[in-house]
């Protein structure tokens, strides 16, 4: 998946090592382009296992793993419901899954022989497309198809000549904004994580001399991973908010939450 035309240092990861060792092997040759999917699947397996263990015998009085997972669940629920109101509960699982998935993928860049899947634009675009489609679906379910088109046409209208012109303009602007969102969302995440990964690889190439810088940047990498995860989820939630609540505000003349 290299950047076109440029040779870039890469940290050794499991799939790359395999590809290096078995150069002629046809299976490995087939497998190597799927490395990001492979790392994602490892994360998925891990997360599912944790979720299964935590939720298997969920008790009224929690302990150990259930406590930790519950804290996360409650935190995400508070976060989503804080932005979306009581009906945000419906979207908590989606946002929460995004959160843990992206967080674990980002953090896996720190682990030796792992590569963050989020450093591939394909991965982040896939997630952003999921958000995009779910947001459109939620908005249409909330207001109906025509109501959604009406919502996209924007609110200030009705003044003589602007009856058709302004709403039409607003409509195209809104559609454009909706379409740009997944691209900006995915590129932001991918570029941050990819840059971080690349920086670690460059510093690792310095050998022993680069060690203090490498350690420092690993800590920074953790910070970046968390911040980028939060940014991705926050923006996703805001997209839900924008798609779902604008109608309400104008009707009930409420100030935005």
């Amino acid at each position: 998946m290299g950047e076109a035309g440029v040779i870039q240092p890469e940290l050794p990861d499991f799939f790359a090592i395999l590809a290096d060792k078995f150069k002629g092997n046809i299976f490995i040759k087939w497998l190597y382009p799927w490395e990001h999917v492979g790392y994602s699947l490892i994360i998925i397996f891990l997360l599912s296992l944790i979720a299964y263990l935590a939720g298997r015998k969920a008790k009224m009085i929690p302990g150990g793993l259930q406590n930790a997972v519950e804290a996360l669940v409650a935190g995400v629920d508070d976060f989503v419901c804080g932005l979306l109101g009581p009906k945000g509960r419906r979207y908590t699982p989606f946002i929460g899954t995004l959160f843990v998935y992206i967080l674990f993928m980002n953090l896996s860049g720190i682990i030796p022989f792992m590569k963050p899947s989020t450093s591939s634009w394909s991965t982040t675009l896939a997630l952003a497309l999921c958000v995009f489609i779910y947001v459109q679906y939620a908005a249409i379910r909330e207001m109906g198809f025509l109501g959604y088109l009406d919502h996209l046409a924007g609110k200030p209208r009705g003044v003589m000549a602007f009856i058709f012109v302004l709403p039409l303009l607003m409509f195209f602007l809104h559609v454009l904004a909706e379409l740009i969102r997944p691209i900006s969302l995915s590129l932001r995440l991918r570029s941050n994580i990819w840059g971080d990964d690349l920086l670690l690889a460059v510093l690792a190439n310095f050998g022993i001399k680069g060690l203090p810088l490498l350690l420092l940047n690993m800590l920074m990498g953790i910070l970046t991973a968390v911040v980028q995860t939060v940014v991705f989820c926050l923006l996703s939630t805001i997209y839900f908010t924008l798609a779902l609540t604008q109608e309400e505000e104008t009707h009930e003349t409420k100030s935005p939450a």
Binding site: A4, G55, A58, D77, P93, T123
Partner: protein
């Protein structure tokens, strides 16, 4: 367009599928049961607090009721004591009066008795005097009159004395 070379359609599809897989798995394993559990626990804690609050309220009510009852009982007891004291005073007053009356009666009776005794003694004395006078007269006169006449004479004499 350079950027688009980063994209790989099959990888995007695979990542979407794997994300949906993870989403459904986590939904089943974690989100649904845990969110439900959190809500249940929240409701339980809230109801627990409510119960505690209710119990406290009830306790306070009971306390107030007991206090008022206690106050009432104290007041009643005090009133009763006062009443009893008054009654006692009245009773002692009455007793005093009746004792005084009785004493007066006794004194009066004694006076009557004394008077009666006195008159009786007087009568006896009179008889004795009559007898003595008669015997003295007999001795003096040596001649005995009939007793009946004697008695008459002395009686007359005594009557005279009485009238004096």
């Amino acid at each position: 367009m350079e950027l688009l070379k980063l994209l790989n359609t099959s990888e995007i599809v695979a990542q979407i599928v794997s994300f949906l897989l993870l989403f459904s798995l986590l939904r089943i394993f974690a989100w649904k049961p845990l969110l439900k559990l959190l809500d249940e626990r929240r409701a339980k804690i809230a109801s627990g607090f409510k119960t505690i609050e209710e119990a406290r309220q009830e306790m306070e009510n009971l306390k107030a009721e007991y206090q008022s009852r206690l106050d009432g009982a104290t007041a009643e007891a005090q009133a009763k004591i006062k009443e009893a004291v008054e009654e006692g005073k009245k009773l002692s007053e009455e007793l005093k009066k009746s004792a005084y009356r009785d004493a007066q009666k006794i004194i009066d009776n004694a006076r009557l008795d004394i008077k009666f005794e006195l008159s009786k003694a007087k009568d006896e004395l009179k008889d004795k005097i009559v007898e003595l006078s008669i015997s003295a007269a007999e001795i003096v006169i040596q001649d005995r009159l009939t007793e009946k006449e004697d008695r008459k004479i002395v009686k007359d004499f005594l009557d005279k004395i009485d009238t004096i």
